[in-house]
C-alpha cells in the first residue's frame, strides 16, 4: 500500500475523532506510517457487528416480554456478553446461569445474586430485580 492510498473513509463509527496508524510505503518505496480515519470494508464489518448486537438485544427483549426468558438473558446481550463469558464473570457454571435465565427461577433469586449480576451489567440492582429492561444504545 502506498502512503497516498491509505484510506480516509471518514464515514465511520467514531466520526473521525480517532485515527489509527497504518504502515505504507512512500514514493521511494520506503516504509513510513500514516494516520487513517477509517476504511470502507472495516466500517461495513464493524457496523454489521453492532447491528447483530442490536438484533440480539431486540430478539431477547421480545422473549423476556413474552415470559420466555428472564431479564438476565436480556442484559447479557445488552452488555455484549455470551453465556461462557457471563458465567466466568458471575463465578458460576454455565448451567446455573442458564437456569437463572428462566423467569420462574429468576423470581426466586436472592438479593446477593441479583446484586452480583447487576454489577456485571453496570445497572442498579433494583432495576434488575424489578425486571425493568433499560434500552440499548449502540455507540454513536
Amino acid at each position: 500500500m502506498k502512503k497516498e492510498e491509505v484510506p480516509q473513509d471518514g464515514d465511520n463509527l467514531h466520526h473521525g475523532t480517532f485515527k489509527q496508524l497504518f504502515y505504507a510505503v512512500d514514493n521511494s518505496g520506503d516504509y513510513t506510517t500514516a494516520p487513517s480515519v477509517g476504511w470502507e470494508p472495516e466500517n461495513v464489518a464493524l457496523d454489521q457487528a453492532w447491528e447483530e448486537v442490536e438484533r440480539r438485544v431486540a430478539e431477547t427483549r421480545v422473549k423476556v416480554e413474552a415470559g420466555e426468558a428472564s431479564p438476565i438473558a436480556y442484559y447479557m446481550e445488552r452488555t455484549l456478553l455470551d453465556l461462557p463469558l457471563l458465567a466466568v464473570k458471575a463465578g458460576k457454571f454455565q448451567w446455573q446461569v442458564k437456569r437463572h435465565m428462566k423467569p420462574e427461577v429468576f423470581k426466586k433469586l436472592g438479593g446477593s445474586t441479583i446484586a452480583r449480576y447487576a454489577e456485571i451489567f453496570g445497572i442498579a440492582a433494583e432495576v434488575l430485580q424489578k425486571g425493568e429492561l433499560l434500552p440499548f444504545q449502540r455507540p454513536q
Binding site: 504502515y23 516504509y31 470502507e40 472495516e42 453492532w50 463469558l85
Partner: protein, 332 residues
C-alpha cells in the same frame, strides 16, 4: 512527575515495547519489536467461537511478542498478577511513585477514552500508566495519538475483567534494559521463528496452511450456515485483519516494514527485497478485504462471490508461502 515520551503505534503490544524501552534509552521501532518477537502469524480456529463466530488471527497469541523480545534483547522484566484489586492498585501506586512507567493488561470494554464502537470484551490490550494526578492515572495507550487519563474505578474494572485471558491485574516493568544491543542475532532468531510458525506447524489451522483451510471454509459458508451468519463470519475476518492494531493487511505491512528496517540495518539487500514481496502480498490481503466488504454489504450471499473470495485466499496462501520460503533461506 515522570516524563514519558509517547508515540502512537499501530499495535498495542509491540507499541508498548517500543515506547517503554525507549524510555530506558533502548531505541527500538515498533516494526523491529514486532519482527524480533516473531509477531506475524495466521490461524483460523472454527471451534473457538465468540458470540458464535469462529476466530481468525493474523498475529501470534498475546504476550508472546513481549516475552520473546525481552529474551532476545536481554531485557529483564518484573511481572505480577494479583488476587485482589486493592493489592493490585497499591502495587501500581508504589511503582509509579518511584517514577517507573508500568505496563499492564486490560480489557478495552472498560477504557472510557477508547472509541466507543471498538469497546467489545477484548481482554488482552496493553497500555502504560506513567503517573497519577488528582486521583486519576496518566495513561500512554499506544494506539491513541496522545497521552490520556483514566479514573481509578475504570482502571480497576479494566485490570480485573474476567474472561479469556483474564488479566488478573497483570502489570510489568523493566528492571534492567541494555542501552546498546546488537540486533543481528535477535533479528535472525525472530525471522527463523516466524518462518517456522508460518510454514511448519503440523496442523491445518495454522500458518499458510491455515489460510488454505479458511479458504475452503469460506467457499462453503452460505451453504453451511446460511446468508446472515455467512455475512457475520466474513465480517469478523475483515475486522481481525483491518481493525485497530494491525497496521493494515493483518500485520503484513508491519512485518514488511520490519524486513526493510532489518535489511537496511544489516546491509542485506535480500531482506529488503523479501520485504517488498510481502508488501505485495499485503496488497492482496487488502483486495480480499475490499471484496469481502462488498459481499457483506450486499447481504444476499450468492455462492459465486463466496467461491471467489475463497479463491482469492488460496492465491494469497500461495504468495505468502513463497515469501516465507524465500525468507527462510536468507543468510543473516
Amino acid at each position: 512527575m515522570t516524563q514519558f515520551s509517547h508515540t502512537q503505534t499501530a499495535h498495542c503490544e509491540s507499541g508498548v515495547i517500543s515506547n517503554m524501552f525507549r524510555h530506558y534509552g533502548l531505541q527500538i521501532s515498533e516494526p523491529m519489536a514486532f519482527g524480533i518477537g516473531a509477531g506475524i502469524f495466521f490461524g483460523h480456529l472454527p471451534f473457538v467461537k465468540v458470540n458464535g463466530v469462529p476466530g481468525t488471527t493474523y498475529r501470534i497469541w498475546p504476550g508472546a511478542i513481549f516475552s520473546r523480545v525481552c529474551k532476545r534483547l536481554g531485557v529483564k522484566m518484573e511481572s505480577h498478577q494479583f488476587g485482589s484489586p486493592d493489592k493490585a492498585m497499591q502495587a501500581l501506586d508504589d511503582v509509579i511513585a518511584k517514577g517507573i512507567p508500568v505496563g499492564m493488561q486490560s480489557s478495552v470494554y472498560y477504557l472510557p477514552y477508547f472509541p466507543a464502537s471498538y469497546r467489545f470484551h477484548f481482554n488482552a490490550h496493553n497500555l502504560v500508566v506513567y503517573g497519577k494526578q488528582n486521583g486519576d492515572y496518566l495513561v500512554s495507550d499506544p494506539i491513541m495519538d496522545t497521552v490520556t487519563v483514566i479514573d481509578h474505578e475504570n482502571l480497576v474494572q479494566a485490570r480485573f475483567a474476567k474472561g479469556f485471558p483474564a488479566p488478573k491485574g497483570k502489570m510489568y516493568y523493566p528492571v534492567s534494559v541494555p542501552k546498546q544491543v546488537d540486533f543481528r542475532e535477535p533479528i535472525k532468531e525472530g525471522i527463523k521463528q516466524a518462518c517456522y510458525y508460518m510454514l511448519k506447524i503440523p496442523m491445518p489451522m495454522f500458518g499458510v496452511k491455515g489460510i488454505r483451510f479458511l479458504a475452503k471454509r469460506v467457499k462453503n459458508y452460505p451453504a453451511k450456515v446460511g446468508d446472515r451468519r455467512a455475512g457475520l463470519y466474513l465480517g469478523n475476518i475483515i475486522r481481525m485483519q483491518e481493525e485497530i492494531g494491525t497496521g493494515g493487511a493483518g500485520f503484513r505491512f508491519m512485518y514488511a516494514a520490519f524486513l526493510q528496517e532489518a535489511g537496511t540495518l544489516l546491509n542485506n539487500e535480500e531482506l529488503k527485497s523479501v520485504g517488498k514481496e510481502l508488501t505485495a502480498v499485503g496488497d492482496l490481503w487488502r483486495n480480499f478485504a475490499f471484496s469481502a466488504g462488498r459481499v457483506c454489504k450486499a447481504r444476499s450471499a450468492d455462492n459465486t462471490s463466496y467461491g471467489d473470495l475463497g479463491d482469492m485466499l488460496l492465491k494469497i496462501a500461495d504468495a505468502e508461502e513463497k515469501v516465507f520460503r524465500r525468507l527462510s533461506k536468507v543468510k543473516i
